[in-house]
């Protein structure tokens, strides 16, 4: 299998000018992910796990290192040097992200949100409508909620919607930042089923899960951050 993502010597720090603070979030990160793998990152709260995902997604601009991604559209591209428009393209078509926080757009219905995500991939309206209903049903989001505003949803419902929206695009690379953190057992199982299905379909995933057992069952490789040191802890090959 080809390498889909290769992070070399990545460091990210924040200079908070008005507070006179310099925060080192992560340093010397090396990660290699092959196509179709599921890779996990573990570490204590504040150790820099989310930071790594945000650097890949382009939300954080990095000071040092490279993030080589094998894009369908652009070929090998260093995400750390990609233009804004290239990043936007990749977010629409190739790289998905589920945040650990509930970031739903205000004033857009659940149905519109999911459908919009599918349409961004270039599907036609009828197909998008069908897919939308399918995934909303999979996550057992009450049909009554489909046409209402997620700002009024419960935490779990919002989260399920967030995941549905990211997964429905079947991105080539899916970044998962504790997507199951505040879900009940049943919802976790649903997410797991979808992750397994996406794995079968060849989606590559890099995820952070606080539920290690959940993660270990899925992982091909695991990286760990301890006391600021980033290391490759386990490889489960030919799984």
């Amino acid at each position: 299998m080809e390498t889909l993502l290769e992070i070399k010597n990545l460091s990210k720090s924040f200079d908070l000018h008005n507070l006179g603070k310099h925060i080192r979030a992560v340093s010397s990160v090396d990660i290699q992910i092959k196509e179709g793998e599921f890779v996990g990152i573990t570490g204590k709260s504040g150790s820099g796990k989310s930071t790594i995902l945000k650097c890949i997604y382009g939300t954080y601009r990095i000071q040092q290192g490279s993030i080589l991604y094998h894009s369908k559209k652009f070929g090998r591209i260093n995400l750390a040097e990609a233009t804004e428009r290239e990043l936007l393209y990749l977010r629409k078509h190739e790289i998905g992200y589920v945040s650990q926080f509930l970031n739903v757009m205000p004033r857009t219905t659940a149905r519109q949100l999911v459908k919009q995500a599918i349409l961004e991939m270039g599907d036609d309206h009828d197909l998008a409508e069908k897919e939308t209903e399918k995934i909303l049903a999979h996550f057992e989001l009450d049909e009554e909620l489909w046409d209402s505003y997620p700002t009024t949803f419960s935490g779990g419902e919002k989260l399920r919607l967030n995941i549905a929206r990211a997964m429905v695009k079947k991105p080539r690379l899916l970044l998962l930042d504790e997507p199951t953190a505040s879900l009940d057992h049943d919802s976790k199982i649903k997410v797991k089923l979808l992750i397994e299905q996406l794995m079968k379909e060849g989606t590559t995933m890099l995820g952070i899960f606080h539920d290690l057992e959940f993660m270990n069952h899925l992982c091909n490789q695991e990286y760990n951050i301890q006391n600021g040191v980033f290391s490759h802890s386990t490889s489960f090959t030919n799984s």
């Binding site: 924040f14 200079d15 908070l16 000018h17 008005n18 945000k54 382009g58 939300t59 954080y60 601009r61 559209k73 652009f74 591209i77 990609a82 233009t83 804004e84 428009r85 290239e86 990043l87 936007l88 393209y89 757009m105 205000p106 004033r107 857009t108 919009q116």
Partner: protein, 279 residues
């Protein structure tokens, strides 16, 4: 890597000063913010460059007086630039500097390739004309003559912006602030411009009215896949609508990035202050 897209609008080194300047302010260091204390010249836009791409919303934020509205006025030829270049893909293949075209050509561009919505509806609408008449005015300016066709297009547009059909003959002066902005939006869209300029279009409206105007902009943008330059001092508006964002300070663009980069990992001291003071 070579650019994979062609910008709809490209602005290069735009400068706009109010006043003649003097020997003292030739040296930029001697300005107080963007103002010359000796001759009173205001350097409202300084060396502003950016591109707008197809189907995207470009946000512009910055403190009061940073030059946002002046920039938008220059783009719409409401103000004459001091110097700089602007190119539109839909005008001579993006090969002619719009700022050097005749005023007649500039009028053509305003009427056919751009639409603008002002914060103050008095600047964008004739308050005593009927609403549909306001739209017809822009259609006529673009060379339309067929009354029936204009009537249809006007009705269609007012419908799109949720102005009840039976009120189309009413003058905007009878309308609420939110409705006036809707009529302005309908007018701006009338000639199907690829580019829409929006300057603080929701500022001063009630929160719920603001929300409905923002919704309208968002849904129109999706449906028509139009490019929008959106000025707002409200980061909530920027977060909701903009794909990319420029930050202006004292006439300059001090930082630009994807909107989530600007909001979550601001680099410049001023941007950090702006973002963190609102979190």
């Amino acid at each position: 890597m070579a650019e994979f897209e062609v910008p709809v609008l490209s602005i290069k080194n735009l400068n706009k000063q109010f006043g003649k300047g003097c020997p003292y302010c030739q040296d930029e260091e001697s300005l107080v913010k963007n103002y010359c204390p000796v001759c009173g010249t205001v350097y409202a836009c300084r060396d502003v460059s950016f591109d707008v791409f197809p189907g995207e919303v470009l946000g512009i934020v910055g403190e009061s007086g940073s030059g946002k509205s002046t920039l938008m006025q220059c783009l719409y030829f409401d103000q004459e630039v001091t110097n700089g270049e602007a190119y539109l893909a839909d005008y001579h293949n993006g090969e002619k500097n719009l700022f050097q075209e005749s005023s007649q050509q500039q009028r053509y561009i305003r009427n056919n390739i751009m639409g603008k919505v002002y914060q103050n509806p008095l600047l964008g609408l004739k308050m005593n004309f009927s609403s549909i008449g306001n739209i017809a005015e822009k259609l006529i300016a673009a060379g339309n003559q067929h009354v029936g066709m204009m009537e249809n297009r006007g009705t269609e547009l007012l419908n799109k912006v949720n102005i009840p059909v039976h009120r189309r003959k009413e003058a905007p002066k009878n309308f609420s602030g939110g409705m006036q902005q809707r009529v302005q939006i309908a007018k701006a869209l009338s000639n199907r411009p690829p580019l829409l300029l929006l300057d603080e279009v929701t500022t001063g409206l009630d929160l719920s009215v603001q929300a409905s105007v923002l919704d309208l902009i968002k849904s129109l943008q999706r449906e028509l896949n139009i490019s929008i330059v959106l000025v707002s001092h409200d980061l909530g508006v920027i977060r909701m609508l903009a794909d990319r964002t420029l930050v202006m300070l004292e006439g300059r663009v001090i930082e630009q990035g994807l909107t989530d980069q600007i909001l979550e990992d601001p680099q410049h001291r001023y941007t950090q202050q702006l973002v963190h003071s609102l979190l």
